[in-house]
Symmetry: T
């Protein structure tokens, strides 16, 4: 089995619905340009507040994918 | 554009429903006494367990709001 | 009131549904072998990605329970 | 059972006697203005040295209390 | 010498000029409402970028002041 | 000299007397079930507050012991 | 309002003048290839010393920009 | 595919040969009592020095294994 | 001397031989697409375990290279 | 008032009595060779366990003193 | 090329002018007694406040220099 | 048994061979001037890259030794 190398990029997904949806949005965006995404890792969960309610969850994720040899 | 100053306070929201709801509860409470809330940041997610199931999600959040000049 | 001692173990719950469900799965598993579970604390939220979508949320939790005297 | 919200404030207690006493002094001061204090958490332990001996222990504590609805 | 208790609050100062100026703005604002400010500690330095240049330095500071007995 | 392997477990000792006593209580409990305890390391110091005074110091400790071959 | 996704890259700006200038240099370089830069966050401040004086401030910054849909 | 739960334990492997060997020793010991070990993660690398040379590398590792349903 | 700007990317090298080899594999892969690599920094050391032995060391590294002006 | 420079050294004090006494022992030792000690800061609290009881508290402290011009 | 060893010391520079100047003051002091200083790294930025304004920036820096063989 | 005090210094060892060898080089250098070295602890592993390959592993270590009474 070969010794793979992976790259990790950092994205911020946002969603007005939920923090999980913000993660899914980031992964969805990443999958448009990277084809071997394997895992993600949450770095930070933040959000934007408008008129006293949560307008957007913003989740910073590291996304890892295998580099093609 | 003036140089604003923001204050950051730390709250713990709790919810028997979900961790996102715990965040919303904290923001809702903060908005009763602070009028320019801009953002929140999750510091820690904990919870209380009763009879082997999650009774409450408890999410520690930092909440930032602009100070009025 | 006596001075209790608690033990903390680390589990990783997974769920294809949501990160909260991953936590609940870990607590549910822990409650099979430990009877006085009191609290949990999220250590890290990760996930597995298959075909560009989140296949599993994986949440690392510390789970605390009282030791019986 | 309602979903409570708690506030967390940061204090520095000092004591020439011991680090535990510095904590107690901070809690004692906090209890003058907040009535539902539930827990504290030590953030940092520092101290002031005069003439080669510890003059004051200074303990930074986060203090959590329930907000009244 | 009595055992003082200090309170620590968190502010975000901003400045279009420099990061040091952002700190000074936060301290200046804090001194309007607190009279015994003793020290500050930088928690994080961030900034807002507009049209490819730094529009505002935003410095998160903890500000400590002695509570009056 | 053989290459030993050690296990590290996490306990929370509590004490109404002092934070050091909370540590001793955790070690005392651990020594009931583990015979080669070598060291401990404080992870966090917290406490429970009742009626404005510290009711219990709660010290999270990692406890290390040699595994018997 | 759509749910944007942002990318975060890490750069090290250097400057013989000041640490703020090192940040501005990093942002300036990033803006050559990325058009929607929104914010930066200082990760670390280091520097190179030659002949006992600071030759270069080196500031590690995370730079965030919106991905175009 | 079911939602697995994993347990994470903390071990310290030691070796007079190398830090990698210390990791292998910890995994080897863990595999005596746990059958589904999946991954490890280095928490800290320390060592014991005798007569001015490294006598033992001591590597603290978290070891994760799947709990059998 | 000009004020250079560097970019930092995050890679995960793997190796069945050693953790150092995992680092070298990551650097080797990075050098295929980036020509001015200057330094690396280990972020985390993990590994994959199969049948009770270390199958792969996986080392997360940040890799820094000078951007060409 | 001149711009002072301070040096910070790291010591580990030990005591069979208490963790505070371990701090005092470290400061006492430091004061034998440094005359302007100003402050200390606890980095870590560990201990040595013998026969199931705490034999020594070991407290890692940073000790700061003003350099004489 | 030989395998150099470097020593890292921790200093706190202070300045009433700016945080960069506090760094320069620390380096300047260090260069009086160490001849091969190579780099510095900011550990923390604090300050002293008098009468509601910043009296001194205090920057904790690690300073690295090559040990002469 | 007396209450010993230990000093901790920070060194950076380098090696073109391996990261373990970089640690050994740092310990070897430290042992020239300090006679009671007891332990080391890895703070960070970095390296220098030349022509796309690792030229030097650089390991930052804390080295602890007992102060002679």
């Amino acid at each position: 089995m070969p010794d793979h190398v992976y790259k990790v990029i950092e994205l911020v997904g946002s969603s007005s619905v939920s923090s999980d949806e913000a993660i899914r949005n980031a992964i969805s965006e990443a999958s448009k340009t990277h084809s071997h995404i394997n895992w993600f890792q949450v770095v930070e969960t933040r959000g934007h507040v408008v008129d006293g309610t949560v307008a957007h969850f913003q989740v910073v994720v590291k996304v890892g994918f295998r580099l093609e040899v």
